[in-house]
């Protein structure tokens, strides 16, 4: 609430609205003019449903972002990947409850994982930790962007650089 008020007028993206608490956060989004991030646990039907609920309480359709949840590379990425592809296809076929932009979190999800943290006690076939960890984050982001994610929240500066460069080249 405090953040919402302090940022009034800046149209920030405010998260997370979840099934259990969306009304209160939706209310401040509406009153302070912010964008609502609607988060659901890797379920396409729940994602659609939450969008319906959030828009029903008055958040405009152009002020909702979907967060269908993120799995890191090797830790469930394919679930997020396919849900995002299906949401995008539904959106392009005209389903207005799937047309909100999608946000993914390659940063936080990657850096929780062993592949991004462990230098010792891992096989030589994993390669050098620093290089591997950054690539782990980059690949997580790349896959989800290819699935249709519109916003990726990243951590490592080199991963940011690589992914920004890729996005620019994709759009060229």
């Amino acid at each position: 609430m405090a953040a919402s008020e302090a940022a009034r007028g800046q149209r920030i993206a405010l998260g997370n609205l979840e099934e259990k608490n969306y009304r209160t956060v939706a209310a401040v989004c509406i009153s302070d003019g912010h964008v609502a991030i609607a988060k659901t646990p890797l379920d396409i039907n729940l994602a659609k449903q939450l969008n319906v609920l959030v828009s029903d309480v008055g958040v405009p359709l152009d002020s909702i972002i979907m967060d269908p949840d993120t799995g890191a590379l090797g830790y469930g990425i394919e679930y997020a990947y396919s849900i995002i592809e299906r949401l995008k296809l539904a959106a392009l076929m005209g389903d207005s409850m799937c047309q909100m932009p999608i946000i993914s979190h390659p940063g936080t999800e990657t850096w929780r994982q062993k592949e991004a943290r462990a230098a010792e006690g891992v096989p030589a076939a994993w390669g050098d930790l620093k290089q591997r960890a950054v690539i782990w984050e980059e690949l997580t982001a790349t896959a989800l962007i290819n699935a249709g994610s519109n916003l990726v929240v990243m951590c490592h500066p080199r991963a940011v650089e690589t992914v920004k460069s890729m996005i620019a080249k994709l759009s060229a």
Binding site: Y75, I77, E115, G127, A143, N146, L170
Partner: protein, 447 residues
């Protein structure tokens, strides 16, 4: 693309002779359309009809084999645009490229490292699928010698030269191993077609754009080459995404024969860094590249790519499962904590990883829940006190630990009472709700 009954009927003799076992040619045609009859049952169908019908019932994307034996590459054979439509079938082949200008000792080292590379994930072992040899020297003799060196590794090979003389020289040495010939171009296609026929090897076609690619593909197929590989000539992000998507779409959705073949991609060519090569390769794996030729042998890039490929190519209907068993995490002994979980590989992998990170050696017993996670299995009745108790007895868990304490996942705390009844010799403890809290839980609850 499959023909309808009416379309097939046009090719039949229309005599209603009944020799096929059906009352009319139309009835036979309908059965053929459904795949419930064999064309060979009709003794009077013309050769032309046979060929046309065979062509129409071909798979939309050819499955091309490179190399032979256990490590052969199978590329292509895909049937859908999106994995959620059904599944992807043949994981993109990961190949590492060497050059015939590489110094001899470096070459041997690289070839050995590539051939020996192996990494485990979710209980399966993954290796690099092949080696590409590039004729960077433009010298036929050097190219042939390099190919011969690589042949000794027994890895499937892709020979890269647009000079037919050099390709011929290399094929003399290694043609019997069924390497892929890369590549036929507008300028050399006739000679390359001949070499492909002579040595019975798959032929890759490199074109400038899709129009030229389709023309060259048609030409090669008309000349009798069945195993083609397509390179639309794109080397970036947007252009490749466009071209490779079009190729897949034309094959799958339009049944456009000239594009009905696996694609080959080169993420390292023109990449300004290892990171750029890695993300290009990732895009090609996810979006319609059937063969991915890396310019760099770097485990820190290869292991993540192998993982991404595994994830994208997993059948969405069949999540990877672990086998039932008691797995030691670290140097577990009879005093180590004993945890229980399900056999969904992601669940196992997550909790095993967190257990390892605690530095406390422990046991992790995996129950067979048909690949479902803790909560999903519990709500489906596949992870209950009966299952856990049965597994404890079957696997003789009592022999692993002196303490007889069993740690349940926090999310199924509700099972504790029943489990204590099923296993009176054991003390049932309730672990944390989230795997990542196990370290803290051990500190507070395990001596």
């Amino acid at each position: 693309m499959a023909l309808t009954g009416i379309e097939i009927y046009k090719f039949l003799p229309k005599t209603n002779c009944k020799k096929c076992g059906f009352p009319t040619c139309l009835a036979f045609a309908m059965k053929l359309a459904q795949g419930q009859a064999e064309l060979s049952k009709c003794p009077d169908v013309s050769e032309e009809a046979k060929q046309k019908l065979a062509a129409a019932s071909r798979p939309p994307q050819r499955l091309v084999v490179i190399g032979a034996g256990e490590r052969k590459i199978e590329a292509g054979g895909e049937t859908v645009m999106f994995r959620h439509d059904k599944t992807f079938f043949h994981p993109a082949a990961l190949v590492v490229k060497v050059k015939d200008t590489d110094p001899a000792d470096q070459l041997s080292k690289t070839v050995k490292a590539v051939a020996d590379y192996a990494v485990e994930r979710v209980g399966m072992t993954f290796k690099i699928d092949g080696i590409a040899v590039e004729n960077a020297s433009k010298d036929a003799g050097k190219f042939a010698a390099c190919a011969e060196t690589v042949k000794a590794s027994k890895m499937p090979m892709i020979l890269m030269s647009t000079d037919p003389a050099a390709m011929a020289a290399a094929l003399q040495k290694v043609g019997a191993e069924r390497p892929a010939i890369y590549a036929a171009t507008k300028g050399n296609i006739d000679k390359m077609i001949e070499l492909a026929k002579q040595h019975k090897c798959p032929l890759a076609i490199k074109a400038n754009g899709l129009e030229e690619l389709a023309q060259l593909s048609e030409k090669a197929e008309a000349a009798g080459i069945e195993d083609l590989i397509l390179d639309p000539g794109t080397r970036g992000f947007g252009d490749s995404l466009n071209a490779l998507t079009q190729i897949r779409r034309l094959a799958i959705k339009k049944g456009f024969r000239p594009m009905g073949f696996p694609t080959i991609t080169f993420p390292g060519e023109g990449a300004s860094s290892l990171d750029e090569e890695a993300v290009r390769a990732a895009q090609y794996i996810a979006k319609y590249g059937n063969i991915v030729v890396l310019s760099t042998f770097e485990p820190a890039m290869i292991y993540p790519l192998i993982t991404l490929r595994l994830n994208i190519y997993t059948d969405p209907q069949k999540p990877i499962q672990m086998s039932k068993g008691i797995y030691p995490i670290g140097a577990a002994n009879e005093k180590s904590p004993f945890c229980v979980t399900t056999n969904f590989s992601l669940t196992y992998f997550t909790i095993a990883g967190e257990l390892e990170a605690t530095g406390v050696p422990s046991w992790l017993m995996v129950c067979d829940t048909e690949g479902l996670s803790v909560l999903t299995a519990w709500s489906a009745g596949k992870f209950d006190s009966e299952k856990i108790a049965k597994t404890v007895k079957e696997l003789n868990a009592a022999s692993k630990v002196a303490h007889k304490k069993l740690i349940l996942p926090g999310k199924v705390a509700v099972l504790r009472g029943e489990l204590e009844d099923e296993l009176p010799d054991w003390k049932i403890m309730v672990g944390p709700m989230e795997a990542m809290d196990i370290g803290g839980w051990f500190k507070n609850n395990w001596n």
